[in-house]
Symmetry: C2
Subunit: 149 residues, 2 copies
DNA sequence: TTTTAATAAATTGTATGCAAATAATTAGTC
DNA sequence: GACTAATTATTTGCATACAATTTATTAAAA
């Protein structure tokens, strides 16, 4: 009752008791799981999620892209230069506002979509959650993201 | 029925439909949430989770530490050198097997535990999940980690 | 309109994170 | 015991990530 001991006082300071750790570990493990599939289409994980957005939206400035991916221009600039050097995207300054860099997908970039088509289902097999579990996980993750921000 | 369209064929290739992305984003956001609290005790996130293990286990070789943290020696070596330069840990080769580097906590490292004591509850407030939700998230994350490995 | 403030990318500096190669040590095999 | 595995860290190279600064451009204010 009125007694506290070191066990209780510090028990939260255990790796296993911190939600952050499985989140961090799980994120890294799932990115590692993507690697063999992404190697086949010569994309890194960051390049892949960038292409995911562009396959859907076709054109976007760096700022909006960063808001979609939760990445800043310091991270995106080198990624986008790399994707451009591979011929998958084009980088052009906006005519109406030269501060904006417009990132748009090329024909080669569009073509890659076909090769990337099966990646999600392959990963789904690795993750191996039921539809219900996946939805619950998805819901909880976005809840945490919302709460933190 | 017999008709397929591009919408369905590629619908999984949307950022919002991939479980990996909220995982990746949530992990980064939660690490970002730690930053102000960890700044107060002058630790980076990686240094912090390393200290978590050492506060509990006192001494450990690099390999075992890496298994606990899901990190390899290429990542850990510079982190451990940094922690040693701060006086929080000691690095010594094992007498019985010189291949092993024993990482052990110092008095200063022990003392830091007191200052780190309240970090988990502060983060808990930011994450703001119910006990039930946190347990469910925890369970699902470890399930994914198990399934992937 | 000149000045100031705000915005968008790029750059710089620091810290990860991982694969692959290397070095040092120990264990196993002949 | 000499030779070959295997094991453990370290190093190297590449790719993020992010804070802070800088540069270029546009918007707003005086």
């Amino acid at each position: 009752m009125g007694t506290t001991n070191k066990e209780n006082e510090y028990s939260m300071l255990k790796l296993e008791n911190q939600l952050c750790f499985p989140l961090y570990a799980c994120s890294k493990e799932i990115i590692r799981a993507y690697k063999p599939f992404l190697d086949e289409i010569d994309l890194t994980y960051t390049q892949y999620i960038t292409m995911l957005v562009l396959w859907e939206k076709k054109e976007m400035n760096v700022k909006t892209l960063g808001e979609n991916l939760y990445l800043d221009s310091g991270t995106l600039t080198p990624v986008l230069k790399k994707l451009e050097s591979k011929g998958l995207i084009k980088r052009t300054r906006s005519k109406s506002d030269e501060r904006n860099l417009l990132v748009s997908i090329t024909k080669e970039g569009e073509a890659l979509k076909e090769k990337a088509k099966d990646v999600p289902s392959k990963i789904g097999k690795c993750v191996n959650l039921s539809k219900k579990e996946a939805e619950e996980l998805y819901r909880l993750l976005y809840m945490v993201i919302e709460n933190i921000r």
